[in-house]
Subunit: 346 residues, 4 copies
């Protein structure tokens, strides 16, 4: 039995990924797309400049784009995926939740709010319990659930695997693809034969979101994990796939084999979009993997890929990678939506 | 009064940079070039596929390429710059030193040998004193001096500035240009729309060479600096210029202004190829600098460029950059040669 | 009923594409792989550095690599696909044909030989009749069939569509991907932020092969088409997909609609790997297509893509594109093999 | 004795090139910069995001940005260089000319107007005579002079060399750098691992401007050259330097040596920014030149570079290259300004 879903901000780069991921989805039926007022009223095919490498589905091309407001969205839609600019999202998401819609949002606003679940289904599904707290405090019939930033979600599953050894501190450097900034976010003059060691707000997101995702929820309150996390974020000339170098320290001092085993042991789950397993781990015979172009599409773009596990004086260093617009954005929201449906929140 | 110099392995990428840097040099006159036996006997213009973006000097094009052996090199040449493959260098450099030549080498062999000076003129010129030890032990009339690896030299001047605060540990991630692997080292299929998180032997070089460069020499013996250094090295699609993210911890906890001041205060020195100052430091108003394409040619490619100084829970993080084939290779050897001449070793 | 096939030169870039295309093929079963003597005797998984973006099939990984000689190939193999270097191919292909094997070869040797069919199944399937001539002249039990060069096959189907208007002359400029030169054929230093207006022998291939493909076969002899063809070939920084600008003149002066209709009307055929239709044509509403990254995988990489049809003073200009290692190499040989099987030559 | 000059639209990519080229200019002193109303009143250093790879001159950084109107420009300024968007230029340039200013403009508006000189100093300096016609017709005290589009100026000098052989027709394909579209004109998502076979309006500019530049002026009227010119324009992933493949036909059939000699024989002129000679010609020993990254800075970016001259059935084919933002934009306007000064129009 399928759930009718909508996409808020459906014409953008992430919005187009949502449409691609929802095509032929076994549990969700795309019933509504919204965009800015200029696009409202047009057919989606006319409103969107389609740039994904698979053709636009005919039935989606014919959908009439609606305004992003409670009035404009049909009552029989139960779940909304949001890829709105964070400023716009901050304005409209609360109203939609109050109107009774469940919103699975990729937008960065409110991710750190105390009563908003920030979830990765394979890592902290129990945090969905925060929805009760949220509804009590805000008097909403609906709910607001967030997925983390693309650079955060690439790293956190590997940190979760290390947590059994007593995770204490993390230094991470990112090599991020241009698609993370949206279709027009990085100009070619800025990045060809170059790299940019600054992405506004990105480091703060990685440092705070990681501790929330790894934190514990006691049924009433969520406490952040107490590990120190420091990030340096860089943009490089790759199209898709964020590669990250992690330096991690734990109380127990696992050797590389133990670290690889712990990462490989994390289950992928059994939701429609779940990867199996959660993390593909390259061994010492492949020291130069993962690589963005070679590994970003593993598990249809939903798998985390790790490798290059080596020891340091006080811990371990390793590399991890994920597809930033699939696992790191649209796919993460869809997977959260699947979890919400599976656990009966919708 | 000028010194007659030669270049060992003059036809390769670094060899061509040597020729470019020695053109119109105020203190050195290029008198001899050597290469593999196939090239020996040809004119340099015929033997080398010239790929530097300035024309090949006419007088160099006419030089006859010699074999790389003591017999083949004129006696009136006093200083030899070496950019030989490390395997070849390990075989021929000792014989040349024994024959009385002073060799300023960019090759990676013997950099960590206890009696071989590994020097950056602005950082540890006193280590040249090891030449006495070397001559006593090896009975050489000549001498062998090394410059560090390109990824090491990009970072060490900034670490030297931090040492006044009591440097304890360093985590560094590198974003390295393809020219670091030589003209044919990285194929286009390997790196376009991609990044490779592994460069063979590079991390070990950064971790060991840094501690030797920052170590102390008591006139008889050199002791390594006791800071822990852990590196993750990556190749990205840039042509020239290595960008590095550094996480550093010190006993004193300097704030970003103190760190920037310490870096900016390091003198460039007064050798012919010295930059002024050693490090160009970008302030908080330019958080996205340094960038490889924008900053690699500062100080004619001899200056270190730093920026993005921010604090972390236990220390500071910042970014640094240098031109890997100028400051990181040929230019480093030339600067060492200039120091040898200035201090009367030649 | 399936045909047992082998791949000559299976470890290279094109060889790996052959393996990818033959996985789960409905008519062909991969029974044998050959490579250089150093690889012979190893398992394919150990001998090949797998670089295709789909995993290596398990059964192929376990195949033992054989030498490229008649003795080494099992008798029950009926069809051999060749991606040998042309020098090696020129030496071994005749011996294999003499030994009775039918060889569908992508190697450039002998493409213009008077008794060797150079075929594109959708364009000149009748040229296979040359096999009779070839067998008479050479006394072979087997046969040698060639497919054209990647830059030729991208253009010829569009020229075939124009031939009904009386094709007289062609000027073509190519923007070719680096994969056309093999995995290590173009270094990153050569092509990043650059383009190279020369590919050795490429222009001659386009100019001669086009006229043979469009030529007529009277059952005994093949006469070349008399159109003038002049090509300028360039390498640019793209991974896969050759884009070509064509200026064509015909006796009749068709308008753009007629040209688009003629291109779109060419049937794709009904072989297992046939695209449908042969050419995807973009209309005036998409003036910026085809583009390599957006269009190279149409029809699983087997479709020709055309667009930008405009008139000039004496004719028309348009752009065409094809995937150079699929449609332009391995896929072309496989399609020729499928034609040989369908027409009973095997 | 120096001329005081101004730059209209000084904050953009071409505007910054103007500033770079005018620094230390022997005949021109930069006295005024204008930009959009938002920038007016700020110091240039604050108004412009400086992106050129040489530091911004201190005295320019301190200039106060003015509005782009006759009232705002000092009377003692005699020459204005324009890099305004063509729409804005069409509105303001006539008023400035009426107010007595001589405007050397890179903007595309009015290039084909019958009474507006479109000039390349080395090719058609006599076309400046159109200024008299222009002043008669429009009653201006000032004057409006244009330089051609960057893709046109790359090719026309080579066509001028061929004209002695009776130029009849030209087919040209361009491989154009992203900087030609301005700093933000081409997104990285659009061009990495890709090429775009369409640049709006570019082909029409090449086809019409070429015939005007090669046309003849009888003192009263300008007649276009009657050669047919057809262009196909492509954007590729290079930063600077347009590479073009030319197929040309002439009445006389010169061999490659004659063509190379004719190109090499064109004088560079003796203006401050003149290259010497106008065209650097590569011979058959360098078939793979010119290349954008290797050759764009010849003659400080003001030289045209040609090579790869080969014969075709009805003519010749060759490649040419120029730096699109120096020789193809700001440098072209500056050179026109130098010609105006040398010939006493200022």
């Amino acid at each position: 039995m399928t759930t009718r879903v909508g996409i808020l901000g459906a014409t953008g780069a992430v919005g187009q990924r949502f449409i691609q991921l929802l095509e032929n989805h076994e549990g969700f039926e795309l019933a509504c797309v919204t965009a800015s007022d200029e696009s409202a009223g047009k057919s989606y095919g006319d409103a969107a400049k389609w740039r994904v490498d698979t053709p636009i589905p005919d039935d989606v091309a014919d959908l009439i784009v609606r305004e992003t407001s409670p009035e404009a969205i049909p009552d029989d839609v139960d779940l909304l995926f949001s890829s709105l600019p964070s400023g716009v999202a901050a304005e409209v998401e609360p109203g939609l939740c109050e109107a009774g819609y469940v919103v699975s949002s990729n937008s960065s606003n409110d991710r750190m709010a105390a009563d908003v679940p920030l979830t990765i289904p394979e890592i902290n599904p129990d945090h969905l319990g925060l929805i009760e707290v949220q509804r009590d405090e805000r008097g909403w019939d609906g709910a607001l659930i967030k997925n983390p930033n693309c650079s955060t979600i690439t790293m956190v599953p590997t940190l979760a695997a290390l947590d059994e050894f007593g995770l204490e501190r993390v230094h991470v450097s990112t090599l991020q693809a241009v698609s993370g900034a949206g279709y027009s976010g990085v100009t070619s003059m800025e990045i060809i034969d170059n790299a940019v060691p600054h992405i506004g707000g990105e480091e703060e997101k990685m440092e705070s979101e990681s501790r929330k995702l790894l934190g514990s929820f006691d049924g009433a309150e969520l406490s952040l994990h107490d590990a120190d996390v420091a990030a340096s974020c860089n943009r490089i000339p790759t199209l898709d796939g964020h590669l990250e170098n992690v330096f991690a320290e734990t109380t127990a001092d696992p050797d590389p084999d133990e670290v690889r085993d712990a990462m490989a042991a994390l289950p992928g789950g059994d939701l429609p979009s779940s990867p199996d397993p959660l993390i593909h781990v390259f061994g010492p015979e492949d020291p130069d993997r993962p690589q963005p172009r070679m590994d970003r599409m593993r598990g249809d773009g939903m798998q985390i890929v790790a490798g290059g596990v080596r020891t340091t004086a006080e811990g371990v260093k390793y590399n991890c990678l994920a597809h930033n617009t699939v696992r790191g954005a649209a796919g993460a929201s869809v997977l959260n939506g699947e979890l919400l449906a599976a656990e009966g929140w919708i």
